[in-house]
């Protein structure tokens, strides 16, 4: 029976790989088919905005390791075009129909386009794939002044890489602070100071109105009336879940794929027992915080959710456990380690729990009021990994200060 029992994983990124490994670890002996549209086996994307652009990480270091034999059928360079839930089939490029007994949806995200940005130019780029990183690397090699549109993590990390290469980066963002969505305005302002001190030019609270191609690069018209001339530009303004192939399947595709707490996708309000989703594309409610479904675009979440989704697929919706992680991410900016635990964005108040912001070595707790008291929903640490370790188990609990 078992070779006929096929689990297909749509998406050959970290979430898909983690799902495949967990299927084998839990004893799935049937076929595992992994479909990816890039020509590579799963690789680590985190260095694409960091070490790969500075030379600290080489391409040889990118492939992701597993500790269990996956014995998988790899269908790389292959696009999935559609899902037929009724027949349990995927439609692949070329018209091939691939049946499945179980499906893991892990096609992730792509970089969101900024209307008007001429990304067809070799010197105007967005970042998602290794090919994108190579193109940015080539553009930076010929650049001095680099315009970075978007002050989120991708934009900030590319600014760091540009400074490391001795270039002059300018970050432009509509928000008045960097990393506003992830860290909030107070910490975003501190990160802004760190960037300014490192020689990054910041134009915050302004948008880009127009782009003009020049022989040597581009000119960006800002809505402040100012014009910036740059040799290269990188646009990193957010992401877009790759759900196009799921249109018409009957799944809820509002900002990703809606899942139950057990990672099963839903149709007509009921879990689909043969289909789970994991990683950046999955929107699910994490009962540790509340009942609102959200996507979490963190690297470690792709690992943990890939594993949880695989277990849920094998267990079925009734027996599977809810996926209730404490989300975690990190970033390294001009020598300062920024780490986050939980969901700081859900907090309504911020309290310094360790160190001092002035020293740039501190931890801030984010809380929100509940009838039980003030609940710690997230924490952000700058160069304070030990403080973060002490508070990890307090996420989701009433905060006792002092």
């Amino acid at each position: 029976m078992t070779t006929e029992h096929r689990i297909v994983i749509a998406g050959a990124g970290l979430a898909g790989l983690s799902a495949a490994e967990r299927l084998r670890e839990r004893g799935h002996t049937g076929q595992v088919v992994i479909i990816g549209d890039e020509p590579y086996r799963p690789y680590n994307r985190t260095p694409l905005s960091k070490g790969l652009l500075t030379g600290d990480v080489s391409r040889r270091d990118l492939p992701l390791r597993t500790y269990t034999d996956l014995d998988a059928v790899w269908r790389l360079g292959t696009r999935v075009l559609a899902l037929d839930l009724e027949r349990q089939q995927l439609l692949l490029a070329g018209g091939e129909r691939l049946g499945f007994d179980g499906l893991v949806i892990a096609t992730g995200i792509e970089a969101r386009h900024l209307p008007g940005a001429p990304v067809h130019l070799p010197r105007v780029r967005m970042l998602r794939t290794l090919a994108d990183a190579d193109a940015i690397d080539r553009a930076l090699a010929k650049a001095d002044h680099v315009a970075i549109v978007g002050g989120g993590f991708i934009g900030c990390e590319i600014a760091v890489a540009a400074r490391t290469r001795g270039l002059r980066p300018t970050i432009i963002d509509l928000s008045p602070t960097l990393l506003a969505a992830s860290l909030g305005p107070a910490l975003g302002a501190i990160v802004g100071d760190i960037h300014r001190d490192a020689g990054v030019d910041l134009r915050l609270g302004v948008g880009v109105q127009g782009w003009t191609e020049t022989p040597a690069g581009v000119q960006l018209g800002l809505d402040s009336g100012e014009t910036l001339t740059a040799d290269a530009a990188v646009v990193g303004i957010g992401t877009h879940a790759r759900v196009e192939w799921l249109r018409g399947s009957g799944l809820d595709l509002t900002d990703g794929v809606l899942c139950t707490p057990t990672c099963h996708v839903q149709k007509d309000g009921n879990p689909v027992e043969s289909v789970v989703a994991a990683g950046d594309i999955a929107r699910w409610p994490n009962p540790r915080f509340d009942t609102t479904p959200r996507r979490v675009e963190h690297w470690i979440n792709a690992i943990e959710m890939g594993q949880a989704a695989a277990e849920a697929l094998l267990a079925g919706p009734a027996a599977a456990r809810p996926f209730t992680p404490i989300p975690r991410f990190w970033s390294h900016q001009h020598g300062v380690r920024i780490q986050s635990l939980g969901m700081p964005a859900l907090g309504t108040e911020m309290t310094i729990l360790d160190g001092t912001p002035k020293s740039r070595r501190f931890m801030a707790g984010f809380t929100r009021p509940t009838p039980k008291g003030s609940i710690l929903v997230g924490a952000v640490a700058l160069d304070s990994p030990r403080a973060l370790l002490r508070h990890r188990d307090h996420i989701g609990q009433v905060l006792n200060v002092g």
Binding site: M1, T2, H5, I7, S18, E25, R26, G27, H28, T29, G30, N44, T46, D61, R65, Y67, Q88, D101, G102, E273, S274, W299, I300, I303, L313, L314, A315, G316, A319, R328, W330, H332, R337, Q339, P385, R386, L388, L389, R392
Partner: protein, 83 residues
């Protein structure tokens, strides 16, 4: 149509072999994620350094593998060793 969890018999996963750990200190940035994953094996000292057991018991292998997977700089290398 049956779901994926019904027909396929699963085999009990084989007990893990113990591993030998090495950490590339030139890549490690001391985020402490490994300490979160495997606190009995990894420790961030008050001296600001990472301390770890190079030859943890077989019972730690699952957690150590997760530490290696989640390491932000992929600085942890595991090799199997005989029990």
């Amino acid at each position: 149509m049956t779901g994926p969890h019904n027909p396929a018999p699963t085999v009990a996963s084989a007990p893990h072999r113990p591993v030998r750990i090495s950490v590339d200190k030139s890549h490690c940035q001391l985020y402490g994620i490994c300490v979160q994953e495997a606190p009995t094996v990894f420790n961030l000292g008050t001296d600001g350094r990472l301390h770890y057991t190079t030859r943890p018991g077989a019972g730690d292998t699952d957690r150590v593998r997760q530490a290696a997977r989640c390491c932000p700089t992929q600085a942890i290398t595991l090799s199997e060793r005989r029990p």
